[in-house]
């Protein structure tokens, strides 16, 4: 069908086309369908949306992104039609039917994810296929390669670029700023990009954002790393593995995290970031994402894939039976980080885990003899050298006038009896902090006064809850009272 272009400076963040309801009916297309727009030899694919009030039946509105892609002449008509399904949909069916995909087939799927040719529903079918049928070692390697080759890539003059990654899920596990500061102070190059919170109270990027700018351009990031050996930024704006970002978005709808994609996701991002030496932390236990048995198996798979891509990798399994540190929430967590770096009443669990991880990296990078890493890491921390490095990184990224005050409304939860704390439920702590407003409300969250295995007496403070509104606070208190977050026996 030929339609006139109605000019409207419409930036939509993605290529979309607006048509009148009746035009859509005639073309038998539905919201979310892929539309092919052609004008002589120019062609673009966009997603269809109805907006009755903006267009007539003879017109089409194209978002700026479509013009940027195809350079259409806005004075001439375009031809609009339903786009045929990309070839990769047949590979998705193949995976749903339990068959292995070839390198070419996996590259086709990933390429079509990146250039918007596959809709989110089609991506969901792919995730479901991988979830149901799994992937062979070969397929996981193809997926990893495809994800990192379809995105931007960071290049470094030095070869010895280090990185760390935690499988995540443990509340308060904010080791990254401490580990990076210690390692960078020891002369290791660590361009660390992190994510924002997906299901937890805060991601490293959310916490760092309290103190510094985190959405840096590629050039700014390189400048910071050149100056300080490291950075602590948000990876989302860099386009390092755009297919992975879309896959994660579709996976998290159901909190599915099929193992082949978990592996491909982590390793492809490290490859794209140009890292060669990688420490992987897998927290295990009933409060973590995986059991000890599963963690062991996962470790072997990580090492096998890393070898395939010529990466030096060290994997540690860390027991996780409760949240780490005292603060849960962006400001509360960065305060814990500062207490460790300033060596001022630091939460020992967070400090010890950070030193353990930093030590592994120091040893892996030859900055320490085997077995001596912890001693060196601790001295870098205790002498204040790590804190100086941290401040240097913050200044280079762009320091923000930090407001470390906490949210307006607070409530203290006290022990109803004396005894030993036998449970602090990590998942429920994460959930309550979301109810309290994290990660959006940076000053909201939970302060944990006592940890598991500590003896307490009736009336002692267990948790302090912080929220920006009394409604959120009430909701969180209600939820706490209804569920078993903490047990004392």
């Amino acid at each position: 069908m030929r339609l006139k272009i109605k000019k409207l400076k419409l930036e939509a963040g993605r290529p979309i086309v607006f048509l009148h309801e009746k035009t859509a009916q005639k073309l038998n297309i539905h919201i979310g369908d892929r539309i092919a727009i052609t004008q002589k030899n120019l062609r673009a694919i966009a997603i269809f949306d109805i907006v009755k009030s903006l267009v007539s039946e003879k017109e089409v509105v194209l978002s700026q992104e479509v013009f940027e892609y195809a350079k259409f002449n806005s004075k001439k008509e375009v031809h609009i039609n339903l786009a045929l399904s990309p070839e990769s949909t047949t590979y998705i069916i193949k995976k749903l039917n339990g068959k292995s995909l070839s390198r070419e087939e996996i590259f086709a799927v990933v390429g079509d994810i990146v250039d918007n040719s596959l809709t989110e529903a089609e991506i969901a079918y792919f995730v479901a296929g991988v979830y149901e049928k799994g992937m062979s070692f070969k397929e996981i390697c193809f997926l990893t390669e495809a994800i990192y080759k379809t995105g931007s890539k960071l290049f470094w003059d030095k070869k010895e670029i280090a990185d760390k990654h935690s499988i995540g899920g443990i509340a308060g596990n904010r080791t990254t700023p401490i580990v990076v500061s210690i390692c960078a102070a020891a002369g290791i190059t660590m361009p660390k990009t992190s994510s924002r919170a997906i299901t937890s109270a805060a991601g490293t990027a959310d916490a760092m954002e309290v103190l510094a700018k985190v959405d840096l351009s590629l050039n700014d990031l390189k400048r910071v790393v050149k100056k300080t050996n490291a950075c602590l930024t948000w990876g989302g704006s860099l386009g390092l593995a755009p297919a992975d970002d879309k896959l994660i978005r579709v996976e998290r709808l159901l909190n599915l995290d099929p193992e082949p994609q978990l592996l491909a996701s982590i390793i492809s991002k490290k490859l794209a970031a140009g890292s060669k030496y990688i420490l992987i932390d897998i927290p295990y236990g009933p409060q973590a994402k995986v059991s000890k048995e599963k963690a062991r198996k996962l470790k072997l798979k990580f090492l096998k894939i890393a070898k395939n891509f010529k990466l030096h990798m060290h994997v540690v399994l860390t027991p996780a039976d409760q949240p780490i540190g005292n603060g849960i929430g962006p400001v509360l967590e960065i305060k814990d980080v500062l207490r460790v770096l300033q060596q001022n009443n630091s939460p020992k669990d967070l400090e010890n885990k950070s030193i353990f991880l930093a030590a592994k990296i120091l040893e892996m990078m030859g900055k320490s003899k085997p077995g001596k890493g912890e001693f060196i890491a601790r001295s870098i921390l205790e002498t204040g050298v790590a804190y100086d490095k941290f401040k240097e990184i913050i200044d280079a990224q762009g320091k923000i006038k930090a407001d470390l005050g906490l949210a307006k409304h607070s409530y203290e939860i006290k022990a109803k009896k004396s005894g030993k704390i036998t449970l602090i439920d990590n998942k429920l702590i994460n959930y309550i902090s979301r109810v309290l407003g994290c990660p959006e409300d940076k000053k909201a969250g939970i302060y944990i006064h006592h940890h598991k295995n500590e003896e307490i007496t009736e009336g002692q403070k267990l948790l302090t809850l912080y929220a920006e509104s009394s409604k959120k606070l009430k909701e969180a208190i209600h939820f706490f009272n209804e569920s078993k977050v903490i047990e004392i026996n």
Copy 2:
């Protein structure tokens, strides 16, 4: 986050919310996310879209549909946040993990599909789960019940409402207008609603639209049926089984058609239409959707579910080894229908199949003794009574000044050798008709001059292709030459 409402009369066909890119970043939300919008006790769920140019960072634009739903005061601020996943997502995970769902769980999923609480990607996970793990007989019944109970329902004064349904997929299989005309002429009430083409050249609604209005309101439909005993309309606008419409839309992305959903889809629509006597036609064979073996099994399942819902059902298995009739495409198919009804050089395969199906309905409804149905159906057709009924139905629906001319550009495909036709590939015929412009270009399509098993001589016409543009015609000819559509031996 609290935002001002920017007033903009924006009809989007569904509840959507536009936010500035930066606001979305702060809220950590992505395109397609479900957003909860609240104002005191008022609450609505809408889907998020970015349109940078329409809103500032402090504003939100809500489509008219959101206002209609929640009656917000547009002068006051609203609170915007990411909506929590509906409970039904956990049931979708349960199905993906191979577990059976309870009645309540299936109703929750279907209810959330209907009220937009589940995104298309989440619906895709559900379809994938059903595709991978199947459903028990009980689950299929719950699904059927849930689909028809969450939509509108037609009520009739009479109890004996008849209906027919073909599993579809055979090009040119346009028996419905003929069967309905014969049965209605015999005094049977048949309020037939049909779909538009999904993957074929034309649906019954596309073909009927050449002659009459097909998008009737519920009231108009009732008026037509009261007057003529029947109708031949489009079911899409009636909201009879809205969950099914959405499921089909997500399924067809990959042309997945899991059997439990096929069964639930067909039976729920018949229940919603108030039909009590149903004839199901299952075409089988290498050119059809199912093999003879599968067709037999499917028949038993249909009968079992029908019994559960107290429906009288008759299932026929019809061999399908090639397209039916001569015309493929909306106008070409309605011309075949008219040739049969007018008894003017009618395509015998289409005529015979229509009589066979009509006879089964006449016998099922007690309008004929067993075994005498074909005789009665044929006399109704041959005496012109069926054609009179057809014209009556068209007049009542709203006659359109019919233009039965064919598309501008045409091309004849001739036999390259003499011999017997051993193959006319049904799926490729469907595909070529789509390339020629069907169903959008109503006058486009294919005329099949000779059928399978006919003897022909070199140079005789095999097919005539019709298209509205020479480009589409060329594309179709190119495709024909590259593939084995017809074989002569």
